[in-house]
């Protein structure tokens, strides 16, 4: 589903943020992307949905080489990728419902149909009673769930979540992670960037560890589980 071949990313004037990344994520997989802050996790996710361009190397997403994709094809790629942003990117002057609906508005989904999908999505994340609220009136965990709802409302084949449990207390963390695994079980490929080690031990999934822009380990779920036991 997602393949990286010798991918480099450098911002002009700085040492490379990512170097020689090779990665293969299968359809329906759940992958943790971990490593210390500044390791390049966010940058790697950004490459996948074309928010940044690789300096070198090839990236295939759903079989398409996005290193050579035309600018005009990017929107269509993004429609298949739901992104949970680290900084949420919710619109403060729009209701929860409108924020989630945003993804569908862009696609020109008729209003009634969009309403129905949004309602179902809000129910899934447990926020149907907050549909008319404004994001800033919500708690951090609730905002996080709105972002997830927006990312999922169009049934993307890939979900990228950047520190989705970043500032949440343990109870909310479990809630969010359960939601993400649920989505994964229904067939969506999920990549979660996190620096939270407790998350990794609780959910024994494939874990790709980045350090200073390089992949230092890539353990599948079984191996990760074994390491936890030892």
């Amino acid at each position: 589903m997602i393949q990286f071949f010798h991918v480099y990313k450098a911002y002009p004037g700085d040492p490379p943020v990512l170097s020689d990344i090779n990665l293969n994520v299968e359809k329906g997989e759940f992958v943790f992307l971990t490593g210390p802050s500044g390791a390049g996790k966010t940058t790697l996710l950004k490459l996948i949905f074309c928010a940044e361009k690789a300096t070198k190397g090839q990236i295939l997403v759903g079989g398409r080489n996005i290193a050579r994709i035309r600018e005009s094809a990017v929107p269509y790629l993004r429609r298949n990728i739901g992104v949970v942003f680290q900084d949420f990117k919710l619109l403060p002057h729009r209701t929860v419902e409108d924020n989630v609906s945003f993804t569908l508005d862009v696609l020109g989904v008729p209003r009634a149909e969009a309403r129905e999908k949004v309602r179902r999505m809000l129910k899934l994340v447990g926020l149907e009673h907050k549909a008319g609220s404004y994001p800033l009136r919500l708690s951090g965990g609730e905002q996080q769930r709105v972002v997830i709802a927006r990312a999922l409302v169009n049934d993307p084949t890939i979900l990228l979540a950047d520190e989705p449990t970043g500032n949440l207390d343990p109870a909310l963390t479990v809630e969010i992670m359960d939601l993400l695994t649920q989505v994964n079980v229904r067939g969506t490929t999920v990549m979660v960037a996190t620096h939270d080690a407790t998350l990794l031990s609780r959910y024994q999934k494939r874990t790709v560890r980045l350090e200073r822009g390089q992949i230092v380990s890539d353990e599948d779920g079984v191996k990760a589980a074994r390491r936890m036991v030892v």
């Binding site: 929107p75 993004r78 945003f102 508005d105 862009v106 696609l107």
Partner: protein, 300 residues
């Protein structure tokens, strides 16, 4: 997907934009309105000027002096020829008539003419040129053709006066065209600036639209629509202004200029044609401004 839901989305988005920053849009609409109002006024002024030219030009007469040795038949032939060349009205002035007219015009001095042993004036033809030929080029061409005709000794018309008048009209027209171009340019810049503000105030929304897969066109459409809306509103305001101006001041102005233009100048200030032109110009200005803004500030 559904084109209709996209269109309604764009309209809603543009309406939200207008509502979101009413002052900024008020400025843009006002600017467009002022530009179009001035254009409409210039149009009215140009019409007055045209009427003025036509009424002055009505006095342009070409005098054709015939060779003195022509007999009556030959005079008749030349007259027919001149008539054919000019397509206007031709009046034959006999030497006697010309002399008495000259005497009258000279007043006291005219008595001296009585002392002349014989009438030195030739037969002449006075020619009223049809309106479509009352411009310097056509008159010059006509004069040339007449001079070349056999039996014609000389041709005289208010060459300098006609040319000066036309030059003034041309200069006025050119000047107003330049002024208008400047106003249009400035209007586009102002509209673009207001839309830049609109784009800036909605940058968060634009960023997210792009991230969830909006095409460039989808992001840009509401702003273009907003510009178009500004143009339409501006044109409406300008037309209302012109209409009100015509209602309030039209009759007074008509009376004021009636001595120059004759009756019938109090034509309606706003005609359907003008309304349509101003509407199109308004749309053009709004769209132009938003194209500039979107092209420069929406590098998404």
């Amino acid at each position: 997907m559904s084109a209709l839901s996209k269109v309604t989305y764009f309209c809603r988005s543009a309406a939200v934009g207008l509502k979101h920053s009413p002052f900024v849009h008020f400025i843009a609409v006002t600017t467009i309105a002022i530009a179009l109002f001035s254009a409409g006024m210039a149009r009215g002024a140009a019409r007055v000027l045209d009427n003025l030219l036509a009424s002055l030009g009505g006095e342009v007469e070409v005098t054709v002096y015939l060779s003195p040795e022509l007999d009556a038949d030959e005079v008749h032939g030349v007259r027919a020829r001149v008539l054919a060349l000019s397509g206007g009205e031709v009046t034959l002035v006999s030497p006697d008539a010309a002399l008495s007219r000259l005497r009258a015009e000279l007043g006291d001095l005219g008595e001296a003419l009585a002392e002349l042993p014989e009438n030195p004036l030739p037969v002449s033809l006075e020619l009223r040129v049809p309106p479509e030929r009352r411009n310097p080029d056509a008159l010059l061409a006509l004069a040339k053709a007449l001079r070349a005709a056999p039996g014609v000794a000389g041709v005289d018309y208010g060459e300098a006066a006609v040319q000066r008048l036309s030059a003034i009209a041309r200069a006025l027209r050119f000047g107003s065209l330049v002024a208008f171009a400047v106003v249009l340019g400035a209007t586009v810049v102002i509209v673009a600036a207001t839309l830049q503000l609109a784009i800036y105030s909605r940058r968060g929304e634009i960023e997210i639209q792009k991230l969830v897969g909006a095409t460039d066109r989808f992001v840009k459409a509401p702003f273009l629509l907003e510009g178009l809306l500004q143009g339409v509103l501006g044109a409406a305001v300008a037309l209302f202004g012109l209409w009100a101006f015509g209602r309030v001041l039209g009759p007074t102005l008509g009376a004021l200029f009636a001595f120059l233009l004759g009756p019938g100048v109090a034509a309606p200030w706003v005609e359907p044609r003008l309304a349509l032109e101003l509407l199109c110009a308004g749309c053009g200005l709004g769209l132009g401004g938003s194209f500039v803004a979107v092209g420069r500030f929406l590098r998404v």
